[in-house]
Every structure is written in structure tokens, then in C-alpha cells.
Symmetry: C2
Subunit: 351 residues, 2 copies
């Protein structure tokens, strides 16, 4: 088991100002992470709902105009005949779906990686109909000096993986949907391997099989193919429901070090390790037998979704130290500090 930082949780909804009046921050979680100059940057998912108002149903929604999204509120009397309560996720008003919370991505920055400042302004905000139910779980991969951000775009057409690009964490260029629905958790390898880019993803399969980790190739980061199933959930209780990619793979002498999430029989999300061949990442060398992180502390066990540790962001420091950030219960953000030798030695003992 990895060691939690004593300052955990580093960020909670109380630290985040809503993106507009009438909104309430329900969670700040699942951050992508990057080292930019001497600053550690988190791209955190911020989920917002509406302030409750007695006798009314209020839900957030986004309105789009010329590539810009604005946050709005639908407020209707509880007994409005056009209003149908659905489940905890939202309501239907005049046959349009509304959700109880919608996410966008907020940038937080820190010198020490522990104390973060977060501007009030969203960093990545839904900008068209393909993102009308929000933007979730950004992952940042630094490739050739540029920062590529993969995130989940959610809409009435399902959820899909989109790509954006920034060089300065100020201007962002959107590159469209790179994996069709229903794909989540797309993460890019930080460099080309034999002239090809690689990504890990978690397509949503149903019927046969359980959601697994796939690997895909690209000539240009925009177009993807040669999709292959790489890692499947094993018949162990921790991985019973599904597994999916975590933060960008880390290049080590021994291979590509992969941190992935698993959802178990008890519905808890935990973190596991795998090692892929350096020259051929479609070849799995090792896989840990037990979680390296499992929800144990109060902030990992209690929150919007109980018993969740979920990581999609880490920073490898020049000295080989790893700051591994993780979302807790779709609620807050926490940190474990580790390093490459420690993770490799866990894999060596366990595999």
C-alpha cells in the first residue's frame, strides 16, 4: 500500500468557488496533472449542481453559442406538469433530459504540489452540443513539449473521448472526438514508440465480457486504429466489475509503468499496477496482485460516491519522485508521494 500525504485531502468542494451564482460545487476530483516550468498544475473535474430552493426543482444546463458555453439554471415549480423526476441523475422537462450535476475542468496550481491555488474561472468549459452534459476526467500527457489533454465529453449521444492541446495552459485548442462513444479514460503515452503514438482506453462493453483496458495506435494523435484488448479484469474480487486506465504511463528502465483503476465486487474503486514492454506496449510483462491503494481513510470512504480512489493524474519530478493525485469519492483530491523504484519493487514482489 502506498503512503497517503498527511495534508490529505488537498482540495475539497469548500475550496472551489462555483462558476456562477445559484450553482453549488458538489465535487472537485479526478485531476489530470502536469509539471509546467516549476509549477505543478492540476486540471480538476468540478461537478456543480444548483442551490436548493423550497418548492422548486433547479438543475444546471449549458447554452451554446458560437463555440462558447454559458452556465444556466432551469428552475420549475415542483408540481409543474411538464416536469418528470427521473432518478438521482436528473429530471426530464418537456422531453429534454437535465442532470443534477454537470462537470467542467478547473485549473489549480502549486509550487510544492500540496498547497493549490484555483482561479474562479473554468479552464475547460463545454463549448458545443457534444459536451452539453459536461467535461470529465482530464488527463494530461506532455509530448514533444506540448500538453495534450484527453477528456470525456458527455452529451445526449453518450460519452466519448475528446482531445485538446495547450502549450501554455492559457490558450486551449480543441481537436474533436478521437474515440467514439462509449469510450472513457483515454490516456496518451508520453512519446512515440517505433514511430507510432499509443493510447490506453476503456471502451464500454456489455453483454459478453467486462470493461477492460484497450491499447490503440495513431500516426498523428488525431486518428486512432489497431485497437486491441490489453488487460481484462481478473477473477479477483477487487477487479470483479471492471478495470480502466489511470494516469499517463511512466517510462522506466524495466518497461512502461501503468497505474490503473479497478472496480470490485464491493463496488469499491482501487488502484493497481502493470508493466508493459518498453518496445512493444501491447505486451504485458507484469501485473500487481493486490491494490496499491484501496479506500481506507474517511475521505476515501465517505462522499458523493462512497469508497472510491481514482487516479488520472501524476507528476514525475526530475529526481524520479512521483506525485500521484487521486480523486476521493467524486468529492475531493488527495495525494500519495512515491517513486519509480518503489512501484517497480511492488511489481517485482507481487508479479
Amino acid at each position: 500500500m502506498l503512503k497517503r500525504h498527511p495534508a490529505n485531502p488537498l482540495l475539497t468542494p469548500r475550496d472551489v468557488k462555483p462558476s456562477r451564482g445559484g450553482y453549488v460545487v458538489r465535487g472537485v476530483f479526478n485531476p489530470g496533472a502536469a509539471l509546467f516550468n516549476d509549477t505543478i498544475i492540476l486540471l480538476a473535474r468540478v461537478a456543480e449542481g444548483c442551490e436548493p430552493k423550497a418548492g422548486y426543482i433547479s438543475v444546471p444546463y449549458y447554452k451554446f453559442n458560437a463555440g462558447q458555453g454559458t452556465a444556466e439554471i432551469l428552475e420549475k415549480p415542483q408540481n409543474d406538469p411538464d416536469l418528470q423526476l427521473k432518478d438521482s441523475r436528473g429530471v426530464v422537462y418537456k422531453s429534454t433530459d437535465y442532470l443534477s450535476t454537470i462537470s467542467h475542468v478547473r485549473l489549480a496550481q502549486s509550487r510544492d504540489g500540496i498547497h493549490f491555488k484555483m482561479p474562479d474561472k473554468p479552464f475547460l468549459f463545454p463549448c458545443d452540443a457534444s459536451e452539453c452534459y459536461g467535461i470529465e476526467d482530464a488527463r494530461v500527457s506532455m509530448i514533444d513539449g506540448k500538453y495534450y489533454i484527453t477528456y470525456t465529453a458527455v452529451s445526449g449521444d453518450g460519452w466519448a473521448a475528446a482531445l485538446a492541446l495547450t502549450e501554455d495552459f492559457k490558450t486551449v485548442h480543441r481537436k474533436g472526438i478521437i474515440f467514439p462513444p462509449l469510450t472513457k479514460n483515454v490516456v496518451l503515452f508520453p512519446e512515440k514508440i517505433h514511430k507510432k503514438y499509443y493510447a490506453l482506453a476503456r471502451p464500454h462493453n456489455i453483454g459478453f465480457g467486462r470493461p477492460s483496458i484497450w491499447i490503440s495506435e495513431s500516426p498523428d494523435l488525431l486518428h486512432w486504429g489497431n485497437h486491441k484488448c490489453l488487460l481484462r479484469p481478473r477473477n479477483i474480487s477487487f477487479e470483479k466489475e471492471k478495470i480502466g486506465p489511470g494516469p499517463p504511463p511512466i517510462k522506466t528502465d524495466r518497461g512502461w509503468l501503468v497505474i490503473y483503476h479497478a472496480k470490485g465486487q464491493d463496488q469499491a474503486y482501487s488502484l493497481f499496477l502493470a508493466l508493459l514492454d518498453l518496445n512493444n506496449p501491447t505486451h504485458v510483462l507484469k501485473r500487481s496482485k493486490t491494490p496499491v491503494l484501496y479506500p481506507k481513510l474517511p475521505y476515501e470512504q465517505r462522499g458523493f460516491v462512497p469508497n472510491v480512489v481514482f487516479s488520472n493524474g501524476l507528476v514525475v519530478k526530475p529526481d524520479g519522485g512521483i506525485m500521484l493525485y487521486y480523486g476521493c469519492c467524486d468529492d475531493g483530491i488527495a495525494l500519495v508521494q512515491t517513486n519509480i523504484p518503489e512501484l517497480l519493487s511492488i511489481l517485482k514482489q507481487e508479479a
Copy 2:
């Protein structure tokens, strides 16, 4: 409504020899089609099960060795304690799934497009674990003199869209999975549009929305991106459940003519028309209001899956005549003969 050919159905399971002893052909349906020299070629889906044997459960399965699949039979006494009957789709034996039928692709050829000869040997047979539950619904697009075949590869990891290439309908080169699970019904446009290849697909969305037709771009036919939702099911009873792409789009003066399938409130599959901008196929110009083909005749209403007309193959003859082949009830193959002016005039009247 389009006019059926009086010789329908052109092919039924009785016309097809099983791929091995002990197998029974349950359906020959959903053919891709191509004009190759002066021959009309169908790449038909052949679904096979096992000959029933009293007191036993027999199911087909494929064994793989060095890129070759061989057809096998699992035969167990009905009361075998390791055997669990699942649903109509199959059984579980020692925690491995088996299906009641598995599909491969068989080539049929004809001079007149009506009378077909079908060799006993499969044309495309599952060759690795990603196809272990079969190969379904091939579509053929002729691009720059080569024939590109997209098909559904089914395995324990879900179903995905794979690509294969042939120049002579003898040697086939497999190009891997081009759309991750759960994607079906991928069909390629027959030429580049402004230096990009295009495809239509039906990703499987669930939760929000209903399965729709998406459009994607590629520089090389192997890697795909910029996925966009193009056509969604409308609130009409014929399209209530889902819609998906049919045969390759046809280039006309007025735009790309698209034939698509729709599953309605009554669970029937029917065929509709749409017209896309010639220069920008992400732009929909027209869409028919009623089906151009709806299950009406006995061979379209009764069979393995009742009330299905489903098309993934057509041939445009040099004189502009269209041979539109379609699967009936996952059982047989039928034909309508039409032409570009007739389809455009339906769209003009209806849109």
C-alpha cells in the same frame, strides 16, 4: 416503397453447405456486395449452429492456431453439472461462454445478380481471439480499384469493427480493428472527399440517447478520428429504437445517397434514405419520412428474427441501375432493383 424482385428470396439456408460435418446453417443473410469485373459478388453472413442430438447440448466454437481458425463442436450430456443453460444465445461450460450460432462470411457470385453460386469454403473465417464469436455483416467499398471490407468482429471483449482488404476476392489481408467496441455497421465512402476518407458507424450508446449514425474521418483508412453524431433516431415509430448505416453511400449529382436501417417501436427493421452534402458529408441535406422498405412479405416477416429487412450491400451498375441486396429475418437474402433517379425522387417528394 421499392419493388421486390419476383425471384426473392434469392438465397436461403437450404442453398448453403455447412462449413463442417455436424454444423447446420441457420441463416445466410446481410450480404456485402461488389461488382468485380463482370461478376456480382455477395459476401454473405452465414450463421451456423450444431445438429441437434437427443440428450446432448452441442454448440459450435472456434479454435485458433497461428492465425487460422478451425470450426469445432462442444458436445456435453444435458445433465453435465459443469453445463449452465443461459438464454437463447448459448450456454456456459466451465465458466466459458458458448453461443448457439456463430457467423462467418461466405462469397457468392453471379452474372445476372439473381442466380448465385456459393462455394462450400468460407471466404472470411475468424482467425484470432478478437473474432472468436464470429464475423458478421461485411460491407464492401471499392476505393481506387481495391476492395475494402469492413465487418463486425465479435468476441468475449464485445463487438468491434475490423477492416480487411482484397484486390481479387481470393487473397484477403486483415488490417485489424479500426473502431473499438461497441461499434457496428461501419461503412466506408467509396472515395476521398477533400483529401480525407470518411466512414459511417453505429456506436452503441446507452443511458442517454439512442444508437445513432456517426461520421468519422481518416487519413489512411486504418486510423479514424473527428467522430461526430450525424443522424439520430427521430420521434417516429419506425425509428423509435435505433438507426444505423447500411450499404456504402452512393455518389450522385445531388449529394451522397445513404440507405440506413431503423428499428421501430414494433421491433421491425426497415430501410430509410438520407442525402449528405457532396463536399461536406457531415452536413445532412434530406431524409425520407417513411421507410423505402418495410417487412411485408412472408420471407421478410417470418424467420430467425421476425420482421427484419436489413441492407449492407448494393451494386451500382454502369447504367445507374442499383441492385440493393438485403437480409430477411437473419435468415435469407433478397433483392430490390432500383436506380438513382428513383431514390432521389423519393427523397425530393418526402423531404
